[in-house]
């Protein structure tokens, strides 16, 4: 079966191009990274979400000032529903800054209010290392000179003031926002500071946002190998760490949708090679350690760590496997985790029967299609009606998605894991894998599912 049209899509046949049932003999990918069908109940977000919400928001020591009406700032306050932890919680995520543009600002321009807002925010929080200004939809239309205002303010307050032109309407999804954030951070921050000292084992971890402390599970693995993490982009990052990222010997790229741009730019300009990694599950984490070790010539160390850590968790994972084997999962994530997790679930004996992404590109779908079995449904930018149809008709044992889909799954009686913000993470690396397994077990076998009744309306 090639491309297919779900029942809920009869009125919007263009969705067929996005909906593929995998067959081994074919070389088809669902259409991706294009404008959403208007009014189709998409789950997608906007360019601002990709820039401020995903990539910039985790940077822990700058004032993230949102230039626009109040809503956009409110949504990303404290990371919004994301759980980007940092070691600076008394500032990072605690405060939310907005120019709160009013009607007269929209009519007469918001430059004065922006300028004053930058100065005042700096005055209240002089310890912040910079001000990032994120512009939202209306700003892109009224034509405020963001660059000019930021430059003036920077001269006045003497710390970085960087504009991000990430108006929500620019892209077809969050994806363009990732790109804008990457480009801006590369142009304006990377290479502007030299590290105090360099070692031969300096590495950046690019594209990990420290969701519920993922990085704190990942970093020790590399540090025990003798590697120094120069910069984490952008989970728990300070702006200075990003500024000196250009001196790393290697970029380890985790999220391969939101950060290939900066990895490519750093490779071109500074010659930093890239190792792409998946840091979920035993096999993939071990492979990442081996790939990095091979680059630095630390193979023996890596094998020691792998042996030691895997020995600790393998029996427990095996016990989980015996409970999970034969279950069927539907994975719907932003993009890379949809394919990162197919293999992770396979370690449990859990088959991915459907996989979807919100803003994946062709390369994401190629990886998904490589990993799933024939007959699996692969769907791009699924809307809520399609999700309900898939959950109802395919009856997966588990749905792993984000908050917006969580209560839909619950209302349909489908066990669910929040893969965006996690239930109780971290989920990355070896120790995180156990957390993940524990949460999967909880939801799969919660007694409450057995208490649900089928009741016809009175």
């Amino acid at each position: 079966m090639p491309l297919t049209l779900l029942n809920s899509d009869k009125a919007i046949p263009e969705r067929e191009k996005h909906t593929y049932i995998k067959a081994g003999s074919e070389n088809i990918l669902p259409l991706s990274n294009v404008q959403t069908t208007p009014g189709d109940f998409t789950e997608r977000g906007c360019t601002y979400a990709g820039c401020m919400g995903v990539v910039c928001g985790p940077i822990k020591d700058v004032i993230h000032l949102v230039h626009g009406p109040i809503g956009c700032a409110y949504w990303t306050w404290g990371g919004g529903t994301r759980q980007n932890l940092s070691d600076n919680p008394s500032f990072h995520g605690k405060y939310c800054f907005s120019t709160d543009m009013q009607e007269d600002n929209i009519i007469f321009g918001g430059e004065d209010k922006l300028y004053k807002s930058i100065l005042e925010a700096h005055e209240e929080f002089p310890e912040a290392s910079g001000v990032f200004v994120h512009s939202t939809c209306a700003i892109g239309l009224i034509g405020d000179d963001l660059g000019g205002v930021c430059k003036r303010a920077e001269q006045e307050i003497g710390i970085r003031v960087i504009p991000f032109n990430c108006e929500g309407f620019r892209g077809c999804s969050q994806s363009l926002g990732h790109h804008i954030a990457n480009d801006t951070l590369f142009e304006r921050v990377v290479g502007t500071k030299e590290p105090e000292e360099l070692t031969d084992y300096d590495m950046n971890i690019i594209g990990d946002y420290n969701i519920q402390g993922d990085l704190w599970a990942i970093m020790p693995l590399f540090e025990r190998m003798g590697i120094r993490i120069l910069c984490t982009f952008t989970g728990n990052a300070s702006v200075d760490e990003i500024a000196q990222a250009h001196r790393a010997k290697l970029n380890l790229m985790h999220c391969q949708r939101s950060t290939p741009y900066i990895c490519n730019l750093m490779e071109e300009k500074y010659g930093i090679p890239v190792v792409k990694a998946t840091l979920f599950g035993i096999e993939q984490t071990s492979k990442a350690l081996r790939d990095v070790a091979a680059f630095f010539g630390l193979e023996d160390k890596a094998e020691e760590i792998i042996k030691e850590d895997v020995a600790q968790i393998a029996p427990k994972i095996e016990a989980y496997r015996s409970k999970f084997v034969g279950k069927r999962v539907f994975i719907y994530q932003g993009a890379p985790r949809a394919w990162h997790w197919i293999n992770m679930f396979r370690e449990f004996g859990v088959e991915t029967i459907a996989a979807a992404t919100t803003f994946g590109h062709e390369d994401d779908y190629a990886k998904i299609c490589e990993r799933v079995n024939d007959g699996a449904l692969v769907i791009d930018n699924p809307n809520s009606l399609e999700l309900e149809e898939i959950l109802t008709d395919l009856k997966p044992d588990l749905f792993i998605s984000g908050l917006k889909e969580k209560y839909l799954a619950y209302k349909l009686g489908v066990p669910f894991i929040n893969g965006h913000a996690y239930e109780k993470g971290p989920y990355a690396a070896y120790s995180g894998f156990l957390n993940f397994a524990r949460d999967v077990e909880k939801t799969l076998f919660a007694p409450v599912w057995g208490l649900i009744r089928r009741v016809n309306d009175a």
């Binding site: 009014g39 906007c46 919004g80 800054f97 009607e103 930058i118 209306a138 077809c172 999804s173 209560y407």
Partner: protein
Amino acid sequence: MRSVTINPAKICQPIGAMYALFGVHAAVPLVHGSQGCSAYPMRMFNRHFGEPVQVAVSSLGEDASVFGGKKNLVESIKNVIARRHPELIGVMTTCLSETIGDDIDGIISEGNYEDSKVVPIHTPSYVGSHVTGYDNALKALVTHLSEESEPANAKLNILPGMVNPGDVIEIKQMLDPMNISYSILSDISETLNAPLMLPKPPFPRGGSSVAELEDCANARGVIALCEHAGGSAAVYLKGKYGMAADTICPIGVANTDHFLDAVGDMTGAKIPYSLERERGRLIDAMVDVHMKTCGKRAAIFADPDIALALAEFVTELGMEPVIVSSSTASRKFLQKAKSVTDGEILNGRDLYELQRAVKDNEVDILFGNTKCTPIAKDEDVAFVRCGFPVYDRVGYHRYGFMGYHGGVYLTDLIANAILEWGERG
């Protein structure tokens, strides 16, 4: 006053309009804007109510932002109707579509929607707040849908405002024993507190029906529980159809007394003994804890009408409302706040300012939503969660503060917050 907002007290208009639409049965909110304007508010509803919500968006992109969003809007309405067959679509604008200047009223009036009503709602994010958005949505619904028909009926329209499902239930439980006929517009009591029973219905059960909205023209009276969120619709109904109108937020003893008196005046119904008993139970609960509540200094942050009513209730508990803070700036709030407190009034100021005020005023107990939790921790004050959004604890949407029975719940929450705070030492 600062130009920069630090820790906003308000959200923008579209989420308020969605809130109103979710209380209409088989209604779909359709946001004319960019995709963040649907995705982000949905998450806030998910967090507060623990319910799925569905919002359509016209997905304006760069082309639409330059050339206008008409094509996207027309296609969106068509797609929503074809796939969902809703009774109502509320098309709400955003800062984007308002700045582009799309004429949504004109665009909508050109279409033929068969069984679905399509109502334009103007919710530019750069004016007012979520409260304004709710108010604009409800006014748009009654303006576009209400239809006078003979003869007028004996119904009462109750406009609850941006309150919790639990509040609406409290209101119903007071009105039902009075044997009067009423419509709650809009009614989220079931739609945003839905049971898990399979099969899942295509739209949540409950909610006001479009027929009720049409019929609201023929009622004998209207009571808006929140003047800032529903008040404009009440004014419209009064002006257009000449029905009696009143505004009372029934939180606390006196406010609930007034509410029931107003209901009695409009309908001729007597207050039944069962409600007198409930009133007695509230008084009993208040007496039981008055040694804990009397003399406590309270800071209250909420939407304007709720903040004012809470200030009156804490005064009945012998507390002193030393700070009364509204999410949304309003002249009416400012006027009324002066009559309920001699303390500090924050009229639409941000929560950074609220924290400053809490520091300055030797506050014992703070009332506010989840965004206030860090203030309560930093300043080491007792904390009562109220308003929207509350997502760092579960279940707050299920219970109401309104009416005598809701007052008992609130009294207990307050006393327990004070006890817990005392135990922390």
